[in-house]
Amino acid sequence: MGSIAQATYWTIHGSSLVLALHLLGLTLFGYIAARRLGPLLAARRDPRLDRPWQRLGRVAQYWLGQWRHPRFRFAGALHILIFAGFLILAGRAFKLLALGVSDRFAGEGGGWYGAVHAYAATAVLLAMIAAAARRLVLRPARYPRSADAIFLLGLIALLMAADGVFEGSEGAFEHRAMALASLPWLVGAVFAHASLPVLRGLHTGAYFVHEGAFIGLLCYRPFGIQFHVETSLFSIYFSKLDRGTVKPVRWDIPDEHLDSADGFGVKRFEDFTWKHILDFYSCADCGRCADFCPAHAVGRPLAPRTLTIKARDYVFRRYPVFQSAQDGQALVGGLFTEDEIWSCTTCGACEAECPLLIEYIDKIVDLRRGLVDDGRAPQSLHKPLKALESRGNPFGKLERKRGEWARDVVTNGSRPLETLYFADSISSYDERMQAIARAAARILARLQQDFGILGAQERDSGHDVRRFGEETLFQALREHNTEAIRASGARRIVTADPHAFNALRHDYRDLPPVEHISQVLARAVEQGKIRFRPAGEAVYTYHDPCYLGRHNGLYEEPRRVLDAIPGLRRVEMARARDRSFCCGGGGLALFYEPKEKERMAVRRVRMAAEAGANVMVTACPFCMANIEDAIKVAGMEGRMEAIDLAELAERQMEPEAKVPEPEITQAKVVGS
């Protein structure tokens, strides 16, 4: 068969023509890539060069290993197929490009690699057809914007088809055996008896179609969802490693000097960090995040993927490749609505689902910081925020009454503490949630822990103050608590509030180790320090609080405690563990008045009922508040009940011969 490189086309030598085409394509791509790089360079700093081995591990797991794709069976399998096909075909594609320039790269056709690539190309082609059919025929609600995707699927299909025809026509010419039932085989079979000029025409034509499709793909990808083919490797390598945390206001300004920052949060597009803009590029608009977003599910005006795609389109308009910049639209109030930004409960379901590890919470928090800095906090949050500032709790209750929940389980004393029990605001002041704190205190007493509370010296952990964008107030609360905790001399901290747990663990610095009461319980059960009485007839289900589960990975400890209760019947909800459905959010989320069709917790209570449970066990006072409300709203009183893990454990604890009186020390706090 004739050589592509040696042939002459309209008086132009083949290798020169192909080389020129290559250079044209690469130049174009280089230009486009450089333009796309521009916004990243204009963006905020975001140091992500640390822990290279961990990052490479992530690349191996999430990029090469496609770890999260099987969470969606069909689409995931399809993607893995295409991804594998691409990896296999990458070498082949470059070889094809090269042999147009010089025959040295032509080499022998066929062989085992030939068969593998023939099947890979065929598989990818079929996958493209399946994917296109899925979008055009089945039309999953997840894919509202299909034109871009169909065009790209078509280009890839064309690339594969051209490859098949190129290979097949050559095979037919050489009468070479080809991989059975592959595309080249099919082409070879069809054109087995074709004349030489026909085969040569096919061969040459396929080459240039392949060339065109390749350059087309290369240069079109940075304009749409296929950009992730190029960017995903980087997105995953640079992905956020520390879950449960919130990015600092500015990576380049330490917290102590934040007063010098010209503004907080994201107000203009370039206030996003470069990694966040890279995220916008990388999003493949697959919609898994929105499928699992509880805010989206109850009709709040938020879908994580839409947020990203809107931002991607915005950056494309603001930094266009060919035209001049044309977008001066405001970010919040223009591109995004305020309701959209406040609708998020920071539950993390989207981040748990995204195959490309795109971050959402940090972006939402940064956008909120910008709003708060401009005085645009939602009206319903003004009072609780002001109360947090003046009283250290969102309810405006007196500081000196903060420790009163412990009055009936307290004996006073003062000495350096072994264990500090951190109650946080809702468990300190809300009558219902005080029961959780008291149960936790009794458990600690039963375990004969020497423990105390900060009482009037405690302030709100500020967990959700930070996540609602009021960083300065958060830092003031953190400073106060840090001092009080240090002054107490405690060597470890226990809390029953996952929000406090997450804050003390991830948002605070240099504190003694922090544990959630479920960890304490699980260990006590394991060590045989606690035995439970048999449970009754009820069917229990465990609701994973977001800040215990997704943000801190504590899925098993609470379940182990439940399963240690003899005769306790436990069922799992369809959405459990890292797919748990948020109850509506804690902290300031209790005060936010969202636009929604239904409460999240009502949904969640129905899920529990569908699972066949009649008792929902949770391990978070905010979940309790939301779920108990929802049981009333859903009219399921009497049929569904909510109980905190600590309350249940305390209720079921086998009475000892003599129960020691719980002893809570009012921590003496110096310098206050």
Binding site: G375, E389, E470, L473, A476
Partner: protein
């Protein structure tokens, strides 16, 4: 348009019980936190919105002591261009008329097109705005729920009146308006905002700086003086239905039937 807003620092009593001191002279203030009077926040927001449209400065003024500076800073953090503290021993314990007299003297040291007050302080009498206007011979309107700047040095305002109706008036500048809550959505002021204005000096003016009618200020000249606080007399009180919830409901249903609330 240069706007002056008169603000007041009041105890925040929303969530906690107020107790009266044994001698009745005052309420227990040890546990109270203070903040800017709620209605005054709406007035400042209204001023900022007008100034944003027409240009001009917003100044916030209060009569009081050193501790009252914090509310001026809070309003400056909201966006007010400046704050002024009118403080003098001679102003202490003035009644509303005395406060209005001090403010009048201050207004006359500058030039303000528009003067706003909150409709009422939580511990106040809804009086200073109207008194100040009368002393200045400026037109006045109370309970203002919207302000529209029209041509020729005029405003078109709406007042809240009975039955949820709105009364529309045209009012010439300069004038004094008392602003009803709900006229707008005051912007949030965070700690960072307050810190950023923390070092801006706040001018203090006393009696010598103001051509102030001291005959009206101070406790001795107050025509209205509080003698003592007390808890309300028992008066006619509701019959409290006792018992379990079910019992209470039974009793209530019987009562409602008797009174025509249930058939």
């Amino acid at each position: 348009m240069d706007i002056l807003v008169c603000a007041k620092r009041v105890p925040d009593t929303a969530e906690n019980e107020i107790e009266i001191k044994a001698d009745g002279a005052d309420i227990e203030r040890d546990d109270l936190v203070y903040s800017v009077n709620e209605a005054d926040n709406y007035a400042v927001e209204a001023a900022l919105q007008i100034a944003a449209c027409t240009g001009g400065k917003v100044t916030v003024v209060t009569v009081g002591g050193e501790e009252d500076e914090e509310i001026l800073r809070r309003e400056m953090a909201m966006g007010a261009n400046g704050g002024v503290l009118l403080t003098d021993d001679a102003f202490r314990d003035s009644d509303g008329r005395g406060i209005a007299a001090v403010l009048k003297a201050f207004v006359e040291t500058g030039h303000y097109d528009l003067i706003l007050t909150g409709v009422q302080a939580d511990d106040g009498c809804a009086q200073v705005g109207g008194m100040l206007a009368a002393m200045l011979d400026y037109p006045f309107a109370s309970l203002v729920t919207s302000i529209e700047v029209v041509e020729g040095g005029k405003l078109k305002i709406a007042r809240e009146v009975e039955g949820g109706n709105k009364e529309i008036h045209a009012i010439d500048l300069p004038c004094v308006l008392s602003i009803q809550t709900g006229i707008n959505e005051p912007r949030y002021v965070g700690m960072r905002g307050i810190r950023q204005v923390a070092s801006i000096p706040i001018p203090r003016l006393g009696a010598p700086d103001l051509a102030c009618a001291l005959a009206m200020t101070g406790k001795g000249n107050a025509k209205v003086q509080r003698s003592r606080y007390f808890t309300p007399p028992a008066g006619k009180a509701a019959e409290i239905l006792e018992g379990s919830r079910d019992e209470v409901i039974e009793k209530l249903i019987d009562l409602l039937k008797a009174k025509g609330g249930l058939n």
